[in-house]
Amino acid sequence: MRKPIYQPLLIYALLIFLALLVVIPLAAGALTAFKPQIIWISSPPTWNFVPTLENFEFVLIQRQNLLHLRNSLIVSTGSVTMALILGIPAAYALARFRFRGSKGLLQWLISLRMIPPIVVGLPFYVLFQTFDLRNNHFGLMLAYLTFLIPLVIWMMRGYFVEIPSAMEECAMVEGYTRLQALRKVVLPVIAPGIVATALLNFIFAWNEFFLALILGGRETSTLPVAAGTYVGRARVEWGNLFAINLIIMVPVIILTIFLRRQLTKGLALGLVD
């Protein structure tokens, strides 16, 4: 079967068009973050300008976004660390042990990923007021665990299944306890998987908006919440907004390029395998 010569050209044209739909908005937005204030609102947009960092300086220092950046980092790293500590052992057990109800338990854990944030957000709001956890980093981290733990279990189980159980069993026969065997033999092998899981979970926590919006307060709001305050203003400060936007997006885009292989695993593998 011979393919007509124009077919690959058509495919490339379409794919490049879709890629441009990604690149143009992001690049144009990124450039705006470096525009001096006077040309933010030039119409049509002008690209002939001397790049400046004044927008970043303004949003980080004057608008206190340095604090929000700090909050985002604390909440994301904190919640991901907690999710890893709690989720990895569970993922290990679900990969290794077959017991009555193990399959159902796994399905149930995975299905927790489907809970709409509003369903947990409302009660969290009420409960956190009672327990004084609103406007508190720890409270937000707890809330994030609802979706981070299932994600960790989901991903890490996939990594554990790939390692033969004979590896730690061999160490156990050779004089070690199960925990020693896990630390000395399995951990070095599974470390890249843990890193990938941690980074992907970090992206989810970092991007989260809804729970941060209702459970955070002035001192604890994260970057997406801070960016949200620009919405609906009569006169939008585009340069400042894109400065924040860029601070939110750049780490994630770098991680995406770095993680592109593991991404699918985290998003679908638990169900596909």
Binding site: P8, I11, L14, L15, L18, I24, P25, A28, G29, I41, S42, S43, P44, I85, L86, P89, A93, F97, L105, Q107, L109, M114, I115, P116, P117, I118, V119, V120, G121, L122, P123, F124, Y125, V126, L127, L142, L145, I149, I153, I203, W206, N207, F209, F210, P224, A227, G228, V231, W238, I248, V252, I253, L255, R260, L263, T264, L267, A268, L271, V272
Partner: protein, 301 residues
């Protein structure tokens, strides 16, 4: 045997038999606390009349459910959300699957194209919304600039009933078709080669190969993609909140946004709780059905 060593034996036996629970318990207990308890609490809430100022909670039975299920706005938003789910899931699935198929036809630059195409999916929906707000801005946006350049009239995309809904859905598809692309790409990569080679030897057409070989083998993967997209679309909040905040005139309002407003702007906590409970039930039914179908599918293979 001494009593001590007998005790040790029993202890070891016990820990051996329940090792898996020692590993699972921390995660399970935490999830009971941060996922199940809130759900139960929220469901309980919806049987009382609770506002933020009065937490003394008179029991009202099904009043909140009755109210919300007869509320025109809620029903309208529910219908909106269903339409939103139908359009964005279909759109992102068709586009994502299509692009995944196209990506397999090429080799040069495939990996780079794929990375660029999946970037929107990993961006904060907040950032996506803001970026497109600017792109679509009537005065400074690139879209209208392009329109004027080719001689079309400027549109206030997000303020008109006619366009706001379509535009928000398009942006949602723009952000989420990469998820389908990624899943389908992995699914396609995992397909065995032999059936294709056999089919080609037998002279089957491209369409026959796709219908009879690719689609049936991909069914579990397709179900996963549809399941994830449906559930995510059903709870959309961020993009709509940023781009239109539900307007104009509720045309783009989604369930999550509506319930958020009911609770936090109108202070009707238990009414929102009732709505959230209904939403959870609907999502559970949808995902349970798809899950069941999926596992039957996987087991049959």
């Amino acid at each position: 045997m001494s009593t001590f060593s007998q005790l040790r034996f029993w202890f070891y036996r016990l820990t051996q038999k329940y090792t898996h629970w020692f590993f699972i318990a921390p995660a399970l207990l935490t999830l009971l606390l941060v996922a199940i308890y809130p759900i139960v609490f929220s469901t309980g809430l919806s049987f009382f009349r609770v506002t933020f100022d009065s937490l003394q909670r008179p029991f009202v039975g099904l009043e909140n459910f009755v109210y919300i299920l007869t509320d025109d706005d809620y029903l309208k938003v529910f219908a909106n959300t269903l339409l939103y789910v139908a359009v964005t899931v279909t759109g992102s699935f068709v586009l994502g699957f299509g692009v995944a198929l196209l990506l397999r036809q090429i080799t040069l630059g495939r990996n780079w194209l794929r990375v660029i195409l999946i970037i929107p999916m990993t961006m904060a929906p907040m950032a996506v919304g803001l970026t497109w707000n600017w792109m679509l801005d009537p005065l400074f946006g690139l879209v209208n600039w392009f329109f004027t350049t080719v001689g079309l009239p400027i549109q206030t995309w997000l303020a008109q009933t006619a366009t706001a809904r379509a535009v928000v859905m398009l942006v949602d598809i723009w952000q989420w078709y990469p998820l389908v692309l990624l899943i389908m790409d992995a699914g396609l990569a995992a397909l065995p080669r032999a059936p294709y080679e056999a089919a080609r030897l037998e002279g089957a057409s491209w369409w026959m190969i796709f219908r009879r070989i690719t689609l049936p083998m991909l069914r579990p993967v397709i179900l996963v993609a549809l399941l994830l997209r449906t559930v995510d679309a059903f709870r959309t909040f961020d993009i709509v909140r940023v781009m239109t905040d539900g307007g104009p005139n509720l045309t783009t309002e989604t369930l999550s946004l509506f319930l958020y407003r009911t609770a936090f702007n109108f202070n009707k906590l238990s009414r929102a709780g009732a709505g959230a409970t209904i939403m959870l039930i609907v999502i559970s039914i949808i995902s349970a059905l798809m899950f069941r179908y999926l596992y039957r599918e996987v087991e049959q293979r």
